[in-house]
């Protein structure tokens, strides 16, 4: 341990109208350390970071940085002191090249003009330091989110940052990409940088962090060495409740004689995904496991008609259906919560009430408007049922936290009273408590006779909830296991190698 911290925040207090967002919080980061900052949504993580970066102005407390007291008033000021932030959303310009995104605003000049050669050379060097040999002269939007994320980190660290804040950098990355990011983080740590790492993924905290600070409801729970704490203790500390209460979830019970709800035969679209053969019983929860891009989402889209199938058949409740577009699916009592909540799910400027009524309205057709009163009743019912944290139904959905947004989307589809609900990564980017609640809701629906297809990258939750798990790789089904008989190990080996236990494609 070095004798003084690189960054020391002491007694931070901030009050927003009506709420004490942070109450006497202490937080410190050493040079050459990865320090995880944890807590449920609303615990005050982002508020604390925003105090540090000058977005919010704290009411009380001191910040010591490199032994000197600082009080940044804007992100730019914090930035020029050596505190860089990489946000969850990519804050770069998609139209500029990779190289330019790293250097814009501080381009090396030669004779009063921008020295493009130097920019491209240095950018290439920087990216290859992160083990990314890419063409830096291509526009940023040519590259995947993971690479864009790396570019924003490259930009942040190239400015001699002493403190790097990573705000949920991994939520849109797959496992390989996360490993890549971790390697970079470790290298930066070895160079003496202090890294603040905010994430919802518990495994990642244990994989990469040295210490962790846990916040709950705006107060400090404590700072711990990662090696001194178990996952279970961590979760208990984060939510302040006994873990068993939350995780005491039982798999849905499926009656062996229950009627078949969904059956597809050779469903597919050439060039996309083909030969999807599925059979699901009423009230069954079917998990889709596999890596990002393995065809999980595409299969779901095929069933729902978001990508129309050109071959094969689809039967719902024993009746042959032809689903050419999502509206057909909605009419056949199917529901689909897409993966990218922000892009395909919520309509940020509409209220919670309007967001909930959307799918039902679409199914009824636009000539049969849902009355305002009915909408109010619907909204109130689901806000209560799903315990959506909001003062009232007229709040804009965009203002809610991720977990609550997800619940609204869930409510939207529950309102249509579907027979089959497809949930694509419903728990991504939301905190442990909300996750458990979404899972509980899913299982309750199964017990009420709804069939659910559950897509997730987190093996743990998929194993905990599913009756059966379909494993996909490269657009094909490579295995199928029963939920009760499955461990993470077997699932992982099927994802990696496939074709085990007599699974058929």
């Amino acid at each position: 341990m070095p004798d003084h911290s690189l960054l020391e925040m002491k007694g931070i207090e901030i009050e927003f109208p009506g709420v004490k967002a942070l109450d006497k919080v202490d937080f410190s980061v050493n040079a050459g350390e990865i320090h995880a900052l944890l807590g449920e949504n609303g615990a005050g993580k982002s508020t604390l970071i925003k105090c540090l970066t000058g977005v919010h102005h704290m009411d009380a407390g001191t910040i010591l940085f490199d032994g000197k007291e600082i009080r940044p008033t804007s992100p730019q000021e914090a930035f020029s002191m050596g505190i860089s932030t990489v946000y969850q959303e990519i804050n770069l310009c998609p139209n500029l090249t990779v190289a330019e995104n790293i250097f814009v605003g501080r381009q090396p000049m030669k004779g009063g003009m921008i020295n493009w050669k130097e920019i491209n050379r240095r950018a290439k060097e920087l990216m290859s330091r992160f083990h990314m040999d890419i063409d830096v002269t291509r526009p940023l939007n040519n590259y995947s989110t993971a690479i864009q994320q790396m570019v924003s980190i490259a930009r942040a660290v190239d400015i001699d940052a002493k403190i790097l804040i990573l705000d949920e950098p991994t939520s849109s990355l797959d496992d390989n990409e996360v490993q890549l990011l971790f390697n970079v983080m470790r290298e930066l740590k070895a160079e003496g940088m202090g890294i603040i790492f905010i994430t919802h993924f518990l495994d990642q905290i244990f994989a990469v962090s040295d210490r962790m600070t846990i916040l709950r409801n705006g107060t400090l729970v404590g700072t711990y060495n990662t090696t001194d704490i178990t996952k279970l203790q961590l979760v208990t500390l984060m939510i302040g409740k006994d873990i068993d209460v939350i995780f005491n979830l039982k798999r849905a019970h499926v009656d062996p004689n229950a009627p078949e709800m969904l059956r597809t035969e050779n469903l597919g679209t050439p060039g996309q995904i083909q030969n999807v053969n599925l059979s699901m019983k009423k009230g069954e929860l079917l998990g889709f496991a596999g890596l990002l891009g393995s065809g999980r989402t595409e299969t779901a889209e095929l069933i729902f008609g978001a990508v129309p199938a050109t071959e094969g058949t689809e039967d719902i409740n024993g009746k042959r259906v032809s689903i050419k577009k999502p509206l057909d699916a909605i009419k056949a009592k199917l529901a689909f919560c897409p993966e990218d909540r922000k892009r395909d799910g919520i309509i940020g400027d509409l209220s919670i009430r309007e967001n909930i009524a959307l799918a039902l309205q679409a199914r009824r057709g636009f000539l049969h408007p849902i009355s305002r009163q009915e909408q109010n009743e619907l909204a109130d019912k689901y806000i209560k049922l799903l315990s959506i944290a909001t003062p009232d139904a007229e709040k804009k959905i965009g203002d809610l936290s991720g977990g609550n947004q997800q619940k609204v989307i869930l409510a939207r589809w529950m309102a249509t009273q579907p027979d089959l609900l497809i949930l694509d990564e419903p728990t991504r980017g939301i905190d442990v408590g909300a996750k458990a609640e979404i899972q509980r809701l899913m299982l309750e629906m199964c017990n009420d006779g709804v069939s659910v297809i559950f897509i997730s990258s987190e093996l743990e939750e998929i194993i905990r909830c599913s009756n059966r798990i379909i494993v996909m790789r490269d657009g094909k089904k490579v295995g199928e296991v029963k939920g009760e008989e499955c461990t993470q190990q077997t699932l992982l080996s099927i994802i990696a190698e496939g074709e085990q236990e007599g699974a058929s494609a």
């Binding site: 003009m113 290439k124 290859s128 330091r129 040999d133 939007n141 891009g293």
Partner: protein, 355 residues
């Protein structure tokens, strides 16, 4: 530390076949196609001469000058509808100041410059600080400037001053070296002040966009203004400067128009802002911001001028066909823009799945 990878030699093709250049290629390609058509069809009656080519620029030079500033505005994701009125106002100020009040045109020019750039800066400030959409802000600026024109005079004021005459009459002839002396080529082709200024403005615009921080900030703002702010770029200053620069271009364009017609008229250049926008858009500047090149705008001006030239050479068509053809071209380019944008998005998502 990972070993350093050797400097990769980029192939000639990969350096030039970048997705961001596609729109410019489309513009240049279509211009060349139309030009070849003209050359085949009307080559025998002089379509391919240097004179015809130069005239294509010359007749539209003032729109071209305005399109330079407009390109910058469009790249930030904005729009400026006040340019034609400001250009007209410039003409009015110089004509009224010189003919009626008896000032030297240079003094009047300075006044027009202050008015034009000042209005641009004001508009930029309103757009940034008051968050008024550029469309509305500059529409107001358009009415304001046009109103002031009519306030100055509702009649055409002709200008006659040695300096203006000298500038309007200046010509640089293309010559060739024959038998030990320089002779003008036949048919005679020359560059006038307007064309010269247009070319200079294109060069200045290129340097601004490609070689200065100011120019790159323009692209960054057009790409994602929020990100630009978070990256610590001077968003406010850049936006205000862009509209100020566009005001400057409008003033220069107005002066160029004055040299052409030698009079100020309160209804001159009516609708000219749309001509400038058309040149920039045909030249591959995206109306959604973030993408655009000066070379594209240059070819946009050429492409827009080659059509009336063809109609003149044909001789049987009404000049209104020019408008129709321009409209068609504009529609075509907007469709191409959409296709380029959507395919690049699709490629991206495909790539994402592949990784």
């Amino acid at each position: 530390m990972p070993e350093r990878i050797p400097e990769q030699r980029q192939s000639f093709a990969s350096r030039f076949l970048k997705p961001q250049y596609v729109m410019v290629y489309a513009t240049v390609g279509i211009f060349i196609l139309i030009y070849i058509y003209g050359a085949v069809r009307f080559g025998s009656i002089g379509f391919t001469t240097l004179r015809t080519f130069i005239n294509m620029f010359k007749d539209n030079a003032y729109y071209g000058i305005s399109a330079v500033g407009m390109t910058l505005v469009l790249i930030t994701g904005g729009i400026d509808l006040s340019v034609a009125s400001v250009a007209c106002l410039t003409g009015m100020i110089v004509a009224y100041g010189t003919t009626v009040l008896g000032f030297h045109p240079a003094v009047c020019m300075l006044v027009a410059l202050i008015v034009g750039v000042g209005l641009g800066v004001l508009q930029g400030a309103a757009i940034h600080y008051l968050n008024v959409p550029p469309f509305i802000t500059t529409l107001a600026g358009n009415f304001l400037a046009r109103g002031v024109c009519s306030l100055i005079s509702r009649e055409s004021i002709s200008v006659s001053h040695p300096m203006i005459d000298a500038l309007a009459g200046w010509k640089w002839y293309f010559k060739k070296y024959v038998d030990g002396e320089w002779v003008k080529i036949k048919p005679i082709a020359f560059i006038n002040v307007n064309l010269f200024v247009f070319i200079v403005m294109i060069i200045i615009g290129t340097i601004i966009l490609q070689k200065t921080k100011f120019g790159r900030n323009i692209y960054a703002i057009g790409g994602n203004e929020q990100s630009a702010k978070l990256m610590g770029l001077p968003v406010a200053k850049t936006k205000i400067m862009v509209y100020g620069f566009n005001g400057l271009c409008s003033v220069i364009a107005g002066f160029a128009y004055l040299l052409e017609v030698k009079s100020g008229w309160n209804l001159a250049l009516n609708g000219g802002e749309l001509e400038a926008i058309t040149c920039a858009v045909i030249g591959g500047t995206l109306l959604t911001g973030g993408v655009g090149y000066m070379v594209g705008t240059l070819f946009g001006v050429l492409l827009k001028s080659v059509i009336p030239a063809l109609i003149t050479f044909n001789g049987n068509l009404l000049s209104w066909w020019g408008k129709i053809a321009t409209g068609g071209l504009l529609a075509l380019f907007i469709v191409i823009q959409r296709i380029v944008v959507t395919t690049s998005e699709r490629n991206k998502s495909k790539k994402k799945e592949a990784t």
